[in-house]
Symmetry: C2
Subunit: 342 residues, 2 copies
């Protein structure tokens, strides 16, 4: 079978690239949640030993990339490209985290969908034969994101129940060519579905789940149509950070369009915190949320064959404080990948 | 010849994609400069008929994409992906400009190097057979960029002589597969060289040329080494927006490393304004600067065979107001493409 552009938005790879290494670095709050055992490092210092939250985020990115390289038995000279991004304006988390690696960089922004975007471009690059090994990395940091998007932490604003808690975390992945032979015990990226901007006119920046759910529904629908697959063919259909409220909207939107994913659906934002004990309201969010959940819990379940095939769908809300304050809507975008044991 | 990963950072395409259409939309100031005759639209309203500078920038992006599609005789249904980005935090210029096209989107950020980044990923995608036609688009807007990065326009700060003037402009390009047959009269992207972050420790945000010149020098050096070509094999070696001061640094850095590009070098930032009459100090800058110069003047000179082969090197300065105010350096990055008549 050749690599195919399938349907409207999907590419199915003839020789799916493998994820041969991954690393997750998280903050204290994530280290107190139910997925703690799956993370590589839990750091209790919110600035990661640096002088600011932003430099702390960069240090987290650096550690994620370094750990992923080390765990996979490679050196940085083996990596041809990095595909990376974060939530901060002009990607300063990524820039200062990666600047000393000396590896060609494609900087990406897809809000919290960036993990899906980076893995998509990474697998396209490897599957085309442009590189043997590349890295996809994304990050978010609770304090730098609050400063970027919402209120100064010192102000102590009350968060509505629909709001989510930005995950402090960075996940990095080594995506590698299998030289046309599937590698047992490594998960493979067998197809990607690239999202369009979907705008339902939602304007509530404290309800990001509602902004992103339509984009997630659109992407999952298109992936199932393009690949001619059914929800039951997946062990899990995993969204990035819709949270509780967004997840309910997603399931309803897909049901209205003929697909019932209730049994398969999992949301990284819902899974990463113990919402009762940790008081995170609608759940976790941020570029780092699905990245560290994939690098930890999800790949673990694929590696030990608990799951055979998943659809992984990071979702992003496309806003800035400027667009929000000028009264614009908050459109969403999502990027999906089928990841499986071959 | 097969598509090859050449040397450290270059890909040489066996079947180079063609640029089958391009469009440039600019503001009034650019329409008074020496390249005015080459632009598709000159708009005298700084908000492009919208309510804010940011929405004006989005309208400019929308027009650039629409014009490029129309000029090439395609419809938007013929476009498989858009690779796009701008300078504003969280890419709101791109988001609101593209949201109604209903085309899968990869959002990119490489500061003013984004035009090179988007064309690189676009050509990788097409050359790999993932799509017949894709679009690369970038933009910047003087007023939205000043608001994002520097001072409120109303404050009327005095600009140092080393500063550049952000170009109001958006350039869009249709990058298409030639189905393995070069198309006469269209310029082709025959290779790409992807840049690393280069940090010489410069901290002066009013002297962006000095921040970016080392990255440009590094990229051009690596491209020449990887491809085993000499500066004399190019009609022009064209940087994005180094301006006068950055251009002088670039030429000196390359001379120190054994390459004399003085005769071939052109900088879009130096070319786009009449510096004497328009008082733009070190020249033009911004994502839009090299994008509209390529879409207009440069592609014109390739189409009429004045030039046969160029090296196009957009350059970016990786900073935000947060990183700058926290005392960080301003690293640079550059992405290069060899564009030629085949």
């Amino acid at each position: 079978m050749n690599t195919q552009a399938l349907g409207k938005q999907t590419i199915k790879f003839a020789h799916p690239p493998a994820i041969i290494g991954a690393a997750s670095i998280v903050g204290e709050m994530e280290g107190q949640g139910p997925l703690a055992a799956y993370f590589d490092q839990i750091e209790t210092d919110p600035t990661f030993g640096k002088e600011s939250w932003e430099l702390g985020e960069s240090e987290m990115v650096r550690r994620a990339v370094q750990t992923a390289i080390s765990k996979s038995g490679l050196t940085k000279e083996d990596i041809r490209y990095i595909f990376g991004g974060d939530l901060l304006g002009q990607l300063i988390g990524t820039t200062f985290g990666l600047k000393d690696f000396n590896i060609p960089l494609f900087g990406l922004y897809g809000a919290c969908s960036t993990c899906g975007e980076s893995l998509s471009l990474a697998s396209m690059t490897v599957a085309a034969g442009y590189a043997q090994n590349v890295i996809a990395v994304t990050s978010s940091h609770y304090a730098s994101a609050e400063k970027q998007f919402r209120f100064p932490l010192e102000y102590g604003n009350q968060r509505p129940l629909s709001s989510t808690w930005t995950v402090t975390g960075s996940g990095a992945f080594i995506v590698s060519s299998t030289n046309n032979q599937p590698m047992s015990n490594y998960p493979h990226i067998s197809s990607i579905t690239t999202g369009k901007i979907v705008d339902y006119g939602v304007r509530d920046s404290m309800n990001m789940g509602a902004c992103m759910a339509p984009a997630a529904a659109d992407l999952i629908y298109q992936c199932l149509e393009d690949t001619q697959m059914k929800p039951t063919q997946f062990d899990k259909i995993i969204t990035g950070d819709l949270g509780k409220i967004g997840s309910e909207i997603l399931i309803k939107l897909l049901l209205d369009n003929g697909y019932d994913i209730k049994k398969q659906h999992m949301d990284c934002g819902v899974s990463i915190y113990d919402n009762e004990k940790q008081d995170t309201h609608s759940g976790g969010s941020g570029c780092g949320c699905c990245a560290v959940t994939l690098a930890g819990y999800i790949l673990h379940n694929l590696a030990n064959h608990t799951w055979k095939r998943i659809l992984f769908v990071p979702t992003g809300a496309l806003l800035s404080t400027v667009s929000f304050n000028e009264g614009q809507t908050i459109p969403g975008i999502a990027h999906g990948l089928i990841i499986e044991q071959l």
